[in-house]
Amino acid sequence: MSVMGAVIDGPLAWGVAICGLLISGGILCTVWRLVIGETLPDRVVALDLLSMLLTALLVLFAVAVRNNSYLDAALALALISFLGTVAFARYVERRFRKDEAPAPDPEPKIEVGARDA
């Protein structure tokens, strides 16, 4: 059987096709949540899940084309997405603290020439 030029024969090819469709559906749902959002943490969670699903898609691609290179990309994405999540979480907390503080601490005055002393 052939779908859009791609030949699907054997159980593995069918599994790859079905899995790809399901992951694509999941990615669409996640992007929808990323767009409508409600709160900022919602969007961060959606972004986290999006990178996880993209990692899964890369591993699936490695299965489909029998190429190890996609695994390197999946490995890098798994590491980088974690850094992004941590940075976003810190950003969310810090932004709220700025809004929450009624009167922020006044900037410590630096006297001119103090650095030279």
Partner: protein
């Protein structure tokens, strides 16, 4: 014959992983607040990824592929809970709205629960 059985097993793992990934996406759209959505996204997403990695390991041509795939899943297992915990803590401290069915332990002061409960009560009244 053995190859066919292995391929069928790998295909089943792929379908299971795809279903879990789709469930994660569905959960993140359908659930009511940030914390429930996080629960769906992290757990179902990680398990789905691991099923797909398992399928890759089943049909892998050599040991190198298996090691790389194992590294991917190990990194996901280490980083996903930590990242999810950080987002959850940030959401809680920024007083993200709760679902009406969520209960809060009012004696807990470690996470500055006072502000969150005050907000919940204000929304209920």
């Amino acid at each position: 014959m053995l190859e066919l059985v292995v391929e069928i097993l790998a295909a089943l793992c792929l379908v299971a992983g795809g279903l879990l990934c789709f469930a994660a996406g569905l959960g993140i759209v359908r659930f009511q607040d940030v914390f429930l959505r996080m629960h769906a996204a992290t757990k179902a997403g990680t398990l789905g990824l691991m099923f797909i990695v398992l399928a890759l390991c089943l049909v892998a041509p050599g040991l190198e592929t298996v090691i790389k795939a194992g590294l991917v899943s190990v990194f996901m297992i280490i980083t996903a809970p930590v990242g999810s915990h950080l987002i959850g803590r940030a959401a809680f401290r920024t007083a993200a709205p709760f679902w009406s069915g969520t209960g809060v332990d009012e004696d807990c002061e470690v996470f500055r629960v006072g502000a969150a409960t005050a907000r919940m009560r204000a929304e209920k009244d």
